[in-house]
């Protein structure tokens, strides 16, 4: 053992002398690193550089979302058909309970279209949140094996949910047409409503991704929080009918809820009987405001912990 440690000593000294050719002699490791432009491993890039890297991975994000969507139902016999079946079955269940059994449809024209729109739009946000929670924890293999801006994961997973929503939208438009709505100019509003909600969802997914990477209990807790959120978002009832006699502040609280905002906008776009008189004031401002606030805020919040994902 003693011979070994002696060899070590000799070896280390000899290599140390070898490692420092004349010019680099006497430099401390930090100075040597600075001289050859080495950087601290795993350090987080600046926000602008990070955004540039993320933009450079846009093909990866797109392909990842596509591949994941394709792989999602490979184990099921009916395959991709479930992309359409799942939202349809959801709508059927809620229609049975809230439309036929409890009867929250009172005072709402075309309740089927009203309900299905609410469910599909809320599901988009709900699934983005759940995908966000698992975005880092569920892709540790990829994150530990390869280097790429980690924000690619929540962005790709939200993009995947957007693709899923597109399938649902075909179902939704079919239902809306079958229930007697006629396409008109207001249908164009579908596009800005979807874009603002998508930005909002992406920001939210990034917030959840950072939280979920550290708090492993979150995946268990989120379904309860999301269900509470859904029942307060007017998915299967009309907020304006419910709060007609409620105090002013309750009404405001329910109206600024981002999920309710995006649901209301989509209903306004698709259903003729939902008029702008029923919408809360400044609804487009809140839609854009939420998208900017959560989208940008969530991105910065996620980036702040970039170096810690996949560690430990």
């Amino acid at each position: 053992m003693s011979t070994v440690s002696e060899t070590t000593h000799d070896g280390a000294v000899a290599v140390g002398a070898l490692a420092a050719p004349s010019a680099d002699e006497g430099l401390s490791p930090a100075q040597l690193a600075a001289k050859y432009g080495l950087t601290v491993s795993g350090a987080r890039p600046g926000l602008a550089e990070y955004t540039r890297q993320l933009w450079g991975r846009r093909h990866f994000i797109n392909e990842f979302a596509k591949a994941r969507t394709a792989a999602q139902y490979t184990q099921a016999r009916l395959g991709q058909l479930w992309q359409v079946m799942t939202p349809l079955l959801n709508a059927a269940v809620y229609y049975l309970i809230f439309g036929l059994l409890i009867g929250t449809s009172k005072g709402i024209d075309n309740f089927i279209a009203y309900l299905v729109t609410g469910i599909f739009i809320f599901t988009f946000t709900q699934n983005s949140v759940m995908a966000g929670v698992r975005a880092v924890a569920g892709n540790l293999g990829l994150i530990r094996a390869l280097h790429f801006p980690r924000a690619s994961m929540p962005v790709a997973l939200t993009l995947m949910q957007l693709q899923q929503l597109m399938m649902s939208m075909f179902v939704l438009i079919a239902i809306v047409l079958m229930t007697g709505e006629v396409p008109d100019a207001s249908w164009i509003l579908i596009i800005p409503a979807l874009i603002t909600q998508w930005i909002f969802n992406t920001g939210l997914a990034m917030i959840m991704a950072r939280l979920g990477s550290k708090m492993t209990d979150l995946a268990q807790l989120m379904p309860f929080i999301l269900r509470t959120w859904m029942y307060t978002s007017g998915v299967m009832y009309s907020i304006s009918n419910l709060t007609a006699h409620a105090p002013h502040y309750v009404r405001i609280l329910l109206d600024v809820n981002p999920a309710a905002v995006y649901i209301d906008l989509m209903r306004f776009a698709l259903i003729d009987s939902v008029t702008s008189a029923q919408l809360p004031p400044h609804i487009w401002a809140s839609a854009v405001g939420w998208a900017v606030l959560v989208g940008v805020g969530g991105y910065i919040y996620f980036w702040k912990a970039e170096e810690s994902y996949g560690r430990g």
């Binding site: 290599v15 010019a23 690193a33 080495l38 601290v40 491993s41 591949a67 530990r144 094996a145 170096e307």
Partner: protein, 269 residues
Amino acid sequence: MAVAEQQTVADAVPATSSRVPTVIVDDVHIVYTVYGAGTGKGSATAALARLMSRKANPNIRRVHAVKGVSFTAYRGEAIGIIGSNGSGKSTILRAIAGLLPTESGKIYTDGQPSLLGVNAALMNDLTGSTNVLLGGLAMGMSQQEVDERYQDIVDFSGINEKGDFISLPMRTYSSGMAARLRFSIAAAKNHDVLMIDEALATGDRAFQRRSEARIRELRKEAGTVFLVSHNNASIRDTCDRVVWLEKGELLMDGPTDDVIKAYEEHTGK
């Protein structure tokens, strides 16, 4: 004697005018925080009681895995890392890759080192070809580059030698096939610093020869390669310098033959 041998190693370094460092490890300590270890009760009531009394979780233990390791790696070097199981070899590689934070000390690297471990699964529910595409794009290759190299990657991995396996999901692969494909994807790009964690041990003999050749190629392209292995023969074949870690401490750092000889005496082989 030692000086003479090191002279030959210095000569073997590719003819760059001066030696350019690519990785500097400066007095690095790494401490793991391990959850769910120890004898503390894991039941719900015990967890609640801990929350109420604000006591530290006895299930959390700190493991000092790397203790004050320093070395400098240069361009064109292939460095083997040896030591018995649990000596901190994989830990130090993950720290160099930026995947583990250091407790104290700093690691400086040239560009972003890539770590290739046998346990790093890619996307198991996707097909091999999708994994090639996604892996390449994630490493920052363009769509066109991936298309150009796709056939090379598949051929190198040897996945299709026994039939059309590349179009099957990766979960159907044997562990050796999956490791080969992962190595092929990661080796398709020219890395400044490539670290390989016992990946060569998993392939068959033909694949081992191909990957050793690829490692030599990467070194020629002025990269630095780290190789963790328990197979002294493959270290001898590919590395010109070896770092020996034991219990988280750097025991020896020098030319391959010297260090492996001392290591073999130590382990009694």
